[in-house]
Symmetry: C2
Subunit: 346 residues, 2 copies
């Protein structure tokens, strides 16, 4: 996939590998105390006399000692590691989510493993299995796993889902339907009577949710909908959908997500269709407003919040050692940008 690097290698010196870290015993004997005391100096210093702590810490510093987390974990049964699995790190929907999740985990003292399933359920299952052996809990985002596999894994480790609605598993769902409804209403108000929906992956929970919201709202408002499948949620796919979209007779389009919308914009530009003068476009997820111009009219994202919240639920589940039937819905709203305008009446 990735081209061979045309690289320049300057291979000069060989050095020794990193030194073996000092152990608790070495520090103990160096400081002239027991190993338990050294342990306490690091985990419960309040149990020790201040001088003792200082003595131990000084020895530790000189020996470059720091507690081996693995050994600690084996002993305590806790290691404060969690895993986050996403279908595609590079899809712009996920980085803000990952970032927020990581930040929240960090705040609670957890380190996070990151896994990329590459949109593949088999791979995801392997990843989850691998992680299960070394984390306390995991967050699965837009999981492609079957309900059964999710339940099976949840039996072993605490699991929180994002954008996947499985009963019995704590989950946080971004309800883009609410924003999509607003988007369609917005277009109706602008005078558009026929709207294209440039859809995403058929199997995706999000796509089904959005498609349904659009059709229902259109029916309610007496609008016509032209369905244009884009299959993959990519810029490319959106771009290819442009001619069909124009041909559909619609004067506005709602795209599966911002990536598709942006592609659509590019495609429309190539068809010499001016946006928003001659055609209006609405995206979804608001993941590109910080990188594109003109600002896309889109549905608010909240992916960062979803990530943060998911970790919060996970941490709480770990803390309380209970799993609640919990379904946390984040609603969305329309963010009006510069790609929608009144329908031009010829």
């Amino acid at each position: 996939l990735i081209a061979e690097p045309r690289a320049a290698w300057n291979d000069v010196v060989k050095k020794a590998p990193p030194t073996t870290p000092a152990t608790i015993s070495q520090v103990a004997s160096h400081a002239g105390v027991s190993r338990a005391t050294v342990s306490r100096a690091f985990t419960h210093p309040e149990m020790l006399r201040g001088e003792t702590v200082a003595l131990v810490k000084e020895s530790a510093r000189r020996l470059r000692y720091f507690p081996n987390q693995i050994a600690r974990a084996l002993s305590t049964g806790r290691h404060s590691n969690v895993a986050l699995v996403v279908p595609d790190i590079a899809n712009p929907f996920f980085p803000p989510l990952i970032r927020a999740a990581q930040a929240r985990a960090d705040m609670a003292g957890y380190c996070v493993f990151l896994g990329d399933s590459n949109e593949n359920s088999t791979r995801e299952d392997v990843l989850v299995g691998q992680f299960a052996a070394q984390v306390e809990g995991l967050v699965l985002v837009s999981s492609r796993l079957s309900k059964e596999r999710i339940h099976a894994n949840a039996q072993l480790r605490s699991i929180v889902l994002v954008n996947r609605d499985v009963k019995g598993i704590p989950r946080v769902l971004i309800d883009t339907a609410s924003g999509i409804v607003a988007a369609v209403a917005h277009l109706a108000e602008l005078g558009h009577r026929r709207i294209a929906y440039v859809g995403g992956p058929a199997a995706s929970w999000s796509n089904q949710q959005r498609r349904q919201a659009i059709h229902q709202t259109a029916r309610r408002l007496g609008l016509e909908i032209a369905a244009i499948p884009a299959r993959l949620p990519t810029f490319e796919a959106g771009m290819r959908a442009a001619p069909l979209t124009v041909a559909s007779g619609a004067t506005a389009a709602v795209a599966f997500d911002d990536l598709v919308a942006q592609g659509l914009l590019a495609g429309l530009a190539e068809c010499e269709v001016e946006v928003p003068r001659a055609f209006s476009v609405v995206g979804c997820d608001d993941v590109l407003s910080n990188t594109t111009y003109p600002r896309l009219t889109t549905v608010s994202g909240r992916s960062a919040e979803a990530g943060r919240l998911a970790v919060e639920l996970l941490v709480e589940a770990l803390r309380s050692r209970t799993i609640r039937e919990m379904r946390c819905v984040l609603d969305t709203h329309l963010v009006v940008g510069m790609t929608t305008a009144e329908r031009k009446h010829p």
Copy 2:
């Protein structure tokens, strides 16, 4: 930072927490063999009679047993975990790198911890310290750490750097200078005589590299350079830099990266400066070509390759238990898009 989630909670049932995983002893007694045999069945099945392996595996399956990686790690001293630390997961330069690094690590049987330093060296140092206690090695991308801290950490764990040039530490560098040189030459050819450099973080190795390349090339070609600092590499910063850039008298600009370039484009549009008719813009890293229109003229990215390569070097260092003085340079080239054009002579 993140608004409170307006969430709907449906808190219904409480359940038992995930069950405690089975241990090797339970499997051993269930299968009527010793713990050593169970261990071997999983790690060295070739040492056992086929039937014995099958027997053990069957017991394991029924007891839902799988080896505890923590215990295994403590025993063997190896756990095949590495860490990847970046300044900002959400900066579009990093996700492809993270993704490639993760994939490569996975291929070598390593799990990866992800850390986000939030562009902050203190935070980075804490993160690295935390990870150092539980990984075999780390990849630091665009590290904000001082040379001294990097060396100190490298003494403890194998470290590979990306886009940071510290002697003695294996590093992979994306040589954007080569692409930048081509960009400036390209602008010169188009007739531009005064070019603005909208720079990034002062402490960043990449920024220094790009700044220098621009100045040298400009001098060589007899062009003038106007330095406009954007400080943070963000869309916002680029946008704010637009008025200054116009005021500088330049007819073209090279931005620190695509994000800044895209912000600059937005800012220019608001100043009613038409691109590329009245002003040319060049980005760097080629991270937005799949999401924006019109296509930005930019310098090719190779961040995914850098990530993959860095992990490769790390894995190799871990395998061979040696650290080589290694400096791996990936060169770049100019990708001409639609944001550069001939200078309009009034």
